[in-house]
């Protein structure tokens, strides 16, 4: 409220403005950016804490395992030789007391060094750089397809509530939800590769092709970037089956959320109001219902995406897909501590980033939570 010099004269004309009309917007904007900054800083602090927690948790977990990496990484004969075992432990720092091992790890971590995998012999970072793009290449198409299908079918089911279409879609989703993923993957491989012969038998690329030059690490993208159409199609062909299996599982999860979210929205007054305005049904569904329903789908979708990105151990295993899930599986079996820690950190990071993405999407979709 601006103070006026001659209140007696100005008061009767005061239109009752409570906030200075011209001063308002810039103030609001700077306030918004300030609170956004605060939000991001807070998120970053949480992130660091969480990553720290992940390292502690992994470290303790792996220490709880009886036996040490030397038993899986040396032949039985070599293990009998104390000299060799000592040399191995010295090489990997396993001869030092636990807290020292942990502090060494943390110190290296702060310098951007995630350590060296005991089972692949590579630095964890370069391992991740190799395995993560493969998983991303699976996760993104699976997620996009899942969203498209589940939003489409979920909305259809909601609009046709309690009719045949609704029942069919729900039953399909329920069956999908009840199917063991690894079983579905095996059956799909059997049918599409073994019986029908229309799908490849796993892997990322036919052996006849050289993998494309490593730019993004995703074969399809790299093949396009380097102008190798045949490689692109081949990589795409290899993607098809795992992506479809992942999609069918994710769709089953998402569709129920989409349906109930849309049902809730369809029940809202503003949907009635939109019809009352004379808007055609399609416009109402697309513009009013979809948008509001998406808010609730974003969280579930985000978490589904996070879990796709953190690697689906079983699917990658069955389709010989060298992704982060396979890497994690091998690391866990070999008790490869640095690798498990690396995967843990990566997954935590994905989780945090996806949560951040969810927050940002919320802000974009719903103006009410843009500031807070």
């Amino acid at each position: 409220m601006s103070e006026t010099a001659t209140p007696a004269a100005s008061l009767p004309d005061d239109p009752g403005t409570l906030i200075d009309p011209d001063g308002d917007r810039p103030a609001a904007r700077s306030g918004r950016s300030r609170s956004l900054l605060r939000f991001i800083v807070k998120k970053l602090l949480t992130t660091i804490g969480l990553l720290f927690g992940v390292t502690v948790l992994t470290f303790l977990l792996v220490q709880a395992v009886p036996g040490d990496p030397s038993t899986t990484n040396l032949t039985e004969a070599a293990q009998q030789d104390p000299e060799i075992v000592a040399a191995y432990k010295a090489k990997w720092g396993l001869d030092k007391p636990l807290p020292v091992q942990y502090l060494t790890y943390l110190n290296n971590l702060l310098h951007g060094d995630l350590g060296t995998s005991q089972s692949t012999g590579n630095s964890i970072l370069s391992d991740l750089a190799k395995y993560v793009p493969a998983t991303i290449e699976l996760a993104i198409p699976a997620m996009v397809l899942s969203l498209l299908i589940s939003i489409g079918l979920g909305m259809w089911a909601a609009v046709r509530k309690d009719r045949a279409a609704d029942h069919t879609i729900r039953a399909g989703a329920l069956i999908g939800l009840s199917t063991p993923s690894f079983w579905l993957a095996i059956v799909a491989l059997y049918i599409f590769f073994y019986v029908l012969g229309i799908a490849p038998n796993g892997g990322r690329l036919s052996t006849k092709f050289r993998p494309p030059q490593d730019i993004t690490g995703m074969y399809t993208v790299d093949a396009l970037l380097t102008g190798r159409p045949l490689v692109f199609w081949d990589a795409l062909w290899h993607l098809a089956l795992p992506v479809l299996v992942l999609t069918s599982l994710t769709v089953s999860i998402l569709i129920r959320f989409v349906r109930s979210a849309m049902l809730e929205v369809l029940d809202q007054d503003y949907v009635k109001a939109a019809y009352a305005k004379g808007l055609p049904r399609f416009t109402v569904l697309r513009r009013h219902v979809l948008r509001a329903g998406l808010v609730q789908v974003v969280t579930v979708g985000g978490l589904a995406f996070a879990s796709l990105l953190s690697g689906t151990v079983l699917i990658e295993q069955i389709y010989s897909w060298p992704g982060i899930g396979q890497y994690a599986y091998l690391a866990a079996l070999n008790l490869d501590l640095p690798a498990i820690m690396g995967v843990g950190l990566f997954v935590a990071l994905v989780y945090i980033l996806v949560n951040l993405l969810i927050d940002v999407l919320y802000g974009i979709i719903d103006p009410r939570i843009r500031v807070s």
């Binding site: 969480l50 329920l174 939800l177 063991p180 690894f182 866990a332």
Partner: protein, 308 residues
Amino acid sequence: MNELASQRPTKPVAGEVILPARRWFGIRPGRPRPERPARPPARALTAVAIVILVGWLIVAIAAPLIAPYDPLAQSGPYYSAPSAAHWFGTDQLGRDILSRIVYGSRLSLPLAVAIVALALAIGGTLGLLAGYIGRWVDESLMRLTDLVFAFPPIILAMVVSAAFGPSARNAVLALVLVSWPTYARVVRSAVLSIRGSDFLHASRLLGVGPWQALRRDVLPNSVGPSVVLASLELGNAVLMLASLSFLGLGPRPPAPEWGAMIAAGATDLSKWWVSIIPGIAILTAVLAFNLLGDAVRDWLDPRSRRRG
């Protein structure tokens, strides 16, 4: 001064009693409304779920009567295809698959229930305390759940199983470890909403102590969502257990665990019966659990009930 007892006769005489409210403004004494039955939730599907589950229950209880063979004994040649002697064929050790599936239900179903019950008990208790006490207890619990969430469940379960060796107990522990945070969060948010509720305020104003209020007002009102979650999670527990078993981290052989049975046939699908049939067993059990979960949700979820 305002002693109610001194103003009214302690025992009203029948016939001449005029209730105070009626005297004041001529209303009839309020009586509770007749109870309206809860909306029947998709009866047909629930019936299917119950039939399947009761079926599995009977199979599990009467396993020795139903199974034609000892599930652990080599009762036929290795990998014999389904036949009159072995309806579902035999596995890699010549064990009867039908018998193993029948006995497998004695493993998968109780273990799934154990996983869910333990996770519910642990997560529920922590969530209850976190939501009710608030402050640092809440804060630290939420960070802990974040930590578990930030870890891919199957990897965490694998490390735990790898650490302590494959066994039914360790698989259950591993899966409880990854699933309790969900319950903690659900219970916590339910408690938070009750913490701001008028009836809790009213209780406290009447002089009810904090722990008494926790037991009487908070607890009964916050179990609903977690029971819904638990019933929906039962199916998931069966699946997770099968996944661990598939990776060789479940109950020890020769136990007839369904996931392990799928794994046994996974290497050679030309002997389809070895893995396809246990897969169908899992599918039906999980499907029934999921349907039941839906029914429980429809029945307990305040939102769907309010509509009814």
